[in-house]
């Protein structure tokens, strides 16, 4: 026995972050619109009568799965705590570049690191440590650190970032920090 229409619709709504129109569900499942409408109705009743953790709601022109409001306190306990596993070297490098140079684009980060910054930047974004801040004149997404970043590093503001001079092996160079990082990055890439 193959999966019923109600269950297929359930799977489709599970995958959709935004409301889905019944028409779109009909097109995807190959069912008639009226069949989809009654499958949606059965799904809604199933969640309600069985007191499942999910709720089916009809919103601005579409159908959306969300969680039962009574699960919210537990969800907050599970998910509201920021995820703070130790930073990998690649993440620490990427985050440091964003922190000291912000706003900074991904291509610039890659030039300084000498390797692709894609996955480290994606993780930092996902954990909310950095966020997008417009686009550069060349259309690249720019990053800056977030409010959460300040909290997790115990900083009142960006001015409280430690001075680089302490860790700077070449303080005699006059150039701006950005310039010097790019130069060092290019030297690394060439090496």
């Amino acid at each position: 026995m193959s999966l019923g229409l109600e269950s297929t619709v359930e799977a489709l709504l599970f995958l959709s972050a935004d409301p889905v129109e019944a028409d779109a569900l009909a097109a995807a499942t190959g069912a008639e619109l009226h069949e989809v409408v009654s499958a949606l109705e059965r799904l809604r009743e199933h969640y309600e009568f069985e007191r499942r953790g999910l709720v089916l709601r009809e919103l601005a022109g579409g159908w959306l799965l969300s969680t039962h409001p009574e699960a919210e306190p537990a969800a907050r306990r599970l998910l509201a705590r920021p995820r703070t596993p130790p930073l990998t070297p690649a993440q620490a490098e990427t985050l440091a570049i964003v922190a000291y140079l912000q706003p900074v684009s991904r291509p610039e980060i890659a030039r300084i690191r000498g390797v692709n910054a894609e996955s480290a930047a994606a993780t930092l974004l996902e954990r909310g440590l950095i966020e997008e801040s417009g686009r550069s004149q060349f259309g690249a997404v720019l990053y800056r650190t977030s409010e959460l970043f300040l909290r997790l590093f115990g900083l009142g503001s960006l001015e409280e970032l430690p001075a680089v001079s302490e860790f700077d092996p070449s303080p005699e160079l006059e150039a701006e920090l950005r310039e010097r990082l790019l130069q060092a990055g290019e030297a690394r890439a060439a090496g």
Partner: protein, 254 residues
């Protein structure tokens, strides 16, 4: 075709690839004298003639040629004891080649398994959606200081370090081609004789080396000859005709 049967016609060896391997492993042919690039070119010619790629055979060839290159580069590496330089235990080398082939097979089977596994997971999709705002909002209040800002400063310090310049120019593919230098030399030859230093004025080392190679090539083809009075002295290059005589125009300018 099996790789073993690849027919080669090299300067130091003519015959099938497997025989070359055996002779190298038995030290009857010095690996240092085998032009591996020629082996690769022979293989590519062979592929072009066949017009299709036997993946199995190609993998085996790549693994073997890469292992031979590595053995050869180990022989070429400077700074080792002379004994070690000439010593390539044939038995060990053979076992190493075999181990490489076995490894390549092993990971190819493992790759097959992974691909099947991935195909078997087809259809299990996961949800990816942002958290509802009500739950996201709480997160700032829950955030305590767990990271040390010094980590960021030290990461920046590391990134500011300019690494010791490593001279790897010899490893970068040369930007200058033999063909280019041939054209350059022929242009100079048309004007008469010249000395080598003029031909490579202001050029980098790679260009000098490639130019020297181009000189040898033109010598081989009988287009020029050269004289050098003493070691490290000036090299004077003059044009020759195909029959080997110095061109008359040359005598006038020389």
């Amino acid at each position: 075709m099996r790789i073993a049967d690849l027919e080669l016609d090299l300067d130091v060896f003519a015959g099938p690839f497997d025989l070359l391997l055996t002779l190298v492993l038995r030290e009857e042919i010095d690996l240092l004298e085998v032009d591996l690039a020629e082996v690769v070119i022979a293989y590519i010619d062979h592929l072009e003639r066949r017009g299709e790629l036997d993946l199995e055979a190609a993998t085996e060839f790549l693994v073997l040629i890469a292992a031979l290159l590595e053995l050869k580069s180990r022989l070429l590496l400077p700074g080792q004891e002379v004994d070690e330089l000439i010593e390539l235990d044939p038995g060990e080398a053979a076992e190493e080649l075999l181990a490489r082939l076995l490894d390549a097979h092993r990971y190819r089977s493992a790759a097959e398994h992974l691909r099947d596994r991935l195909a078997g997971q087809e259809g299990h999709r996961f949800r990816s959606a942002p958290l509802p705002p009500a739950i996201r909002r709480a997160s700032l209040d829950e955030a305590g200081a767990v990271y040390d800002p010094a980590r960021l400063a030290s990461a920046i310090g590391d990134l500011l370090k300019i690494p010791e310049p490593v001279d790897v120019r010899h490893m970068v593919g040369s930007r200058v081609t033999v063909a280019e230098r041939l054209t350059h030399l022929r242009a100079l030859l048309r004007r008469g004789s010249f000395n080598f230093d003029e031909a490579v004025a202001r050029a980098d080392r790679v260009t000098v080396a490639v130019t020297l190679y181009a000189v040898l090539e033109l010598f081989k083809q009988g287009e020029l000859s050269w004289t050098q009075e003493e070691p490290f002295g000036e090299i004077t290059i003059e044009p020759r005709r195909a029959n080997g005589a110095v061109a008359p125009a040359e005598r006038l300018t020389a």
